[in-house]
C-alpha cells in the first residue's frame, strides 16, 4: 500500500515499503509550463532531505529539485531524458528518481495530500 507525501518546495515522494518515488507535483508542473529538460542524479548517488538533487527547466524558468527525503538513488527515470514533457502530461505518474529511503522518520516532516492542497491554496492567495 503506497502513500504520497509532499514538501513545501512542491516535490512529492510516493512511498512503497522502503522505496520512494520522487517527482514534482501537479501544482509545480503547471506553474513551470512546458518542461524542456530534467537534470537528475545517476544511479548510486545519494540525495539528502532538504538539499538540491537536480533541476527541472522550462524555456524561461528553472526550478531546483529539493529532495523531500534522504536515500540512495536506485533508478532515475530515463524516459524523461528523451521526453521531458511527460511531466506535463502526468507529473504524478512520471516520477524523476527512485530512492531507497535511509531514514523513513523524515516522512513525518512532510505534508499529506490534504495538507498540501491547503498549502497550495495559500500559495495562490499571495
Amino acid at each position: 500500500m503506497s502513500k504520497t507525501y509532499y514538501s513545501r518546495t512542491h516535490e512529492y515522494v510516493t512511498v512503497d515499503g522502503n522505496t520512494g518515488y520522487i517527482g514534482i507535483s501537479e501544482y509545480a508542473q503547471k506553474a513551470l509550463g512546458n518542461v524542456v529538460y530534467v537534470d537528475m542524479p545517476e544511479e548510486g548517488d545519494d540525495v539528502t532531505a532538504g538539499e538540491e538533487f537536480g533541476a527541472v527547466e522550462s524555456v524561461k524558468a528553472a526550478s531546483d529539485l529539493i529532495a523531500p527525503v534522504s536515500g540512495a538513488v536506485v533508478e532515475s527515470n530515463g524516459l524523461l531524458i528523451d521526453n521531458p514533457r511527460l511531466i506535463n502530461q502526468d507529473a504524478m505518474a512520471n516520477w524523476i528518481i527512485k530512492v531507497e529511503l535511509s531514514d523513513p522518520e523524515e516522512l513525518s516532516a512532510l505534508m499529506d495530500e490534504e495538507a498540501y492542497n491547503a498549502f497550495c491554496a495559500t500559495e495562490d492567495a499571495h
Partner: protein, 491 residues
C-alpha cells in the same frame, strides 16, 4: 530581399574548390615532415569554401535582418543604448593602435599606455574613486573582479569568515551569479515596493560574516536610492564594503559620484555609459574602480606613470588579487570610450545624465494614462510600466513588445525587474530626439488602442519582421546548435 534565394547558411553556398582570400608566400621550404603523422589532423575541418563576392553578399544580406542603434530607437531598459560616435570607430581602427602586440616592450607602446592611463584617470574622477583597472572585459567580469578585490581586502586583514554578499531582490541577475563565481554566498535583502532597499530588513543581516553589499543606484526600477548614505554607514560599521553596479551610472553623470555616495568598489560598463557599440552582444568593457587604500588589490597587469612622465606596466604587487585577463583588456573598446569622454568633456558629460533623465520622464508622463505606472515620482534614466492599464484585453507585455517591432522600434526590456508581473522597462537615452520620442509615444498609444479594438493583431505580432515569433520550446527540447545538427534534423 528574396529569402528563398539569399536566406541560406554560408555552408549552403559552399562549393569545393572555391576560396575567398589570398595569402602572402614567405618562400621557405616545406617542413611538414617535422611533425610526426600521429600528431596531424586526419580530416580537414570542413569549413565552407566560398569566393569573396559571395561572402560579402551573404553577410551584407544578413545584416539587413538586424536592428541596430543606427537603424532605430532602442528603449531598452538597463542597457543604455546610446548613439555610437563614428570618430571613435575611426580611432580604434588606426594602425598605430591596432597593430601593437600585447607583449611589446613598454618603450614601444607609450601612446597606448598613455591612452589607458588617461582613461583610467578620467573614470576615477567620474566615479569618485582613487584608481581604476580597465582589464575586465565586460560588466559581469567587472563585478567578479570587484568582488575578488573585496575578498582580497578582507583576507589581507586576516578576516576569513566574511563569506556572504548581500544583494537586493531587485538586482540584476549578474550580481548573485558573480558572487557565486567569486565563491561567496548570496543573501537577498528585501526591497520596498519601489525597489529601494528596505533598511530595516537589511539591519539584521549585517554581521561579521558579510563581505560586501552590492547595489545599483538608481536601482533597476529607475529610482534613486536616497538612503544610500545611511546604508553605506551601516555596512561599513559591520566591517563590510559597498559595491556599486555601474549598469545604471548614466543618469548620475554630472550629478553624483558613487565614491561620494559611500561606495568602495565599482564597475562601469563602457558599452553603456561611454558609448562604445554593443556589437550584437560584445565586445564590452567593464573597468573596476576602488577607493583609496584598495588600489593594491587591483588585478595585474597595471599601468603606472613614472615620475619622468613615461608609462610602465607593473605586475609585481604582492597584495594584488592576481590576474583576471591575459592582457590589459579590450583595448580597442577603451580607445573608443576615451574618445567619447574627450568629445563631451566636463561640460558635455554633466548634461548627459540630466538629458537622459528628462527623456525618460517625458515618455513616462506621456504614456501613464494608458500603461500602468506602479511607482509614482520622478524616475531617473529609466522607468517601469506594469503592462497595459486595461488588463481586460488579455494583451500582455510580451505582445506589446512584439507589436513595437512592426513599427520600427526595438522592444523595451520585458519581465525585468522581477518586482512586477508585467514589467516593461523603458530607457530612452540622451541621444534620442524629442521627435523620436514623440513617434514612440504615438506608437505605444496606438498599440494600447489596438489592444482594445483589435487584440488579435497585437497578440500575433510581429507581422512585418524578417521572421515571425519563433518556437522557443522546440529549440530547447531538441537543441540544434550547428549546421551538422541541422542537416541531421532536416533529413
Amino acid at each position: 530581399m528574396n529569402k528563398e534565394y539569399y536566406g541560406k547558411l554560408i555552408y549552403e553556398l559552399s562549393r569545393h574548390g572555391r576560396r575567398g582570400a589570398s595569402l602572402p608566400d614567405n618562400a621557405t621550404p616545406d617542413a611538414l615532415a617535422a611533425i610526426p603523422s600521429a600528431l596531424l589532423r586526419m580530416n580537414a575541418p570542413g569549413l565552407p569554401e566560398v569566393d569573396e563576392p559571395a561572402v560579402v553578399r551573404h553577410y551584407t544580406n544578413m545584416s539587413a535582418n538586424n536592428f541596430g542603434v543606427d537603424t532605430g530607437f532602442y528603449p531598452l531598459g538597463s542597457c543604455t543604448m546610446k548613439y555610437n560616435p563614428k570618430i571613435n570607430e575611426e580611432i580604434a581602427g588606426y594602425s598605430s593602435f591596432a597593430d601593437l602586440h600585447p607583449l611589446q616592450p613598454a618603450s614601444t607602446v607609450q601612446g597606448a599606455l598613455e591612452a589607458y592611463w588617461t582613461l583610467q584617470k578620467a573614470l576615477s574622477e567620474i566615479g569618485g574613486m582613487s584608481e581604476f583597472t580597465l582589464n575586465p572585459f565586460a560588466g559581469a567580469h567587472g563585478e567578479l573582479t570587484g568582488l575578488m578585490v573585496i575578498r582580497a581586502y578582507h583576507e589581507s586583514r586576516g578576516d576569513s569568515k566574511r563569506v556572504k554578499v548581500i544583494v537586493p531582490d531587485s538586482a540584476h541577475g549578474t550580481n548573485p551569479a558573480s558572487a557565486a563565481v567569486a565563491g561567496l554566498k548570496v543573501v537577498e535583502v528585501k526591497s520596498f515596493p519601489d525597489g529601494t532597499v528596505d533598511i530595516e530588513a537589511l539591519r539584521p543581516l549585517l554581521d561579521d560574516t558579510v563581505a560586501a553589499m552590492m547595489m545599483t543606484n538608481p536601482n533597476t526600477a529607475g529610482m534613486f536610492e536616497h538612503g544610500v548614505k545611511e546604508i553605506a554607514e551601516m555596512v561599513h560599521e559591520a566591517g563590510a564594503l559597498m559595491y556599486y553596479d555601474g549598469a545604471n551610472l548614466n543618469p548620475m553623470l554630472g550629478i553624483a559620484r558613487p565614491g561620494d555616495m559611500g561606495f568602495d568598489v565599482m564597475h562601469i560598463n563602457l558599452h553603456k555609459t561611454f558609448s562604445t557599440p554593443h556589437g550584437g552582444g560584445g565586445p564590452g568593457s567593464g573597468p573596476v574602480g576602488v577607493r583609496k587604500g584598495l588600489e593594491c588589490f587591483l588585478p595585474e597587469p597595471r599601468v603606472c606613470r613614472r615620475d619622468d612622465g613615461t608609462f610602465a606596466i607593473s605586475d609585481d604587487s604582492g597584495e594584488s588579487l592576481g590576474s583576471i585577463s591575459a592582457t590589459l583588456g579590450n583595448f580597442g573598446v577603451q580607445l573608443r570610450a576615451l574618445a567619447y569622454i574627450m568629445s563631451l568633456g566636463a561640460d558635455g558629460l554633466k548634461m548627459a545624465g540630466p538629458l537622459a533623465t528628462l527623456n525618460a520622464n517625458y515618455v513616462k508622463e506621456s504614456l501613464r494614462d494608458l500603461y500602468l505606472l506602479p511607482l509614482e515620482g520622478v524616475c531617473k534614466h529609466e522607468f517601469v510600466f506594469d503592462g497595459l492599464r486595461d488588463k481586460s484585453t488579455g494583451v500582455t507585455t510580451l505582445d506589446v513588445a512584439k507589436r513595437l517591432l512592426d513599427f520600427g522600434f526595438h522592444a523595451p526590456t520585458i519581465y525585468f525587474p522581477l518586482l512586477f508581473h508585467e514589467s516593461l522597462m523603458i530607457e530612452p537615452t540622451e541621444t534620442e530626439s524629442r521627435e523620436t520620442l514623440d513617434a514612440f509615444i504615438d506608437v505605444m498609444r496606438e498599440i494600447a488602442k489596438e489592444a482594445v479594438e483589435n487584440p488579435e493583431v497585437v497578440k500575433s505580432a510581429p507581422h512585418s519582421t524578417p521572421v515571425s515569433r519563433p518556437d522557443d520550446t522546440a529549440a530547447a527540447l531538441n537543441p540544434v546548435v550547428t549546421y551538422d545538427d541541422l542537416k541531421s534534423s532536416e533529413s
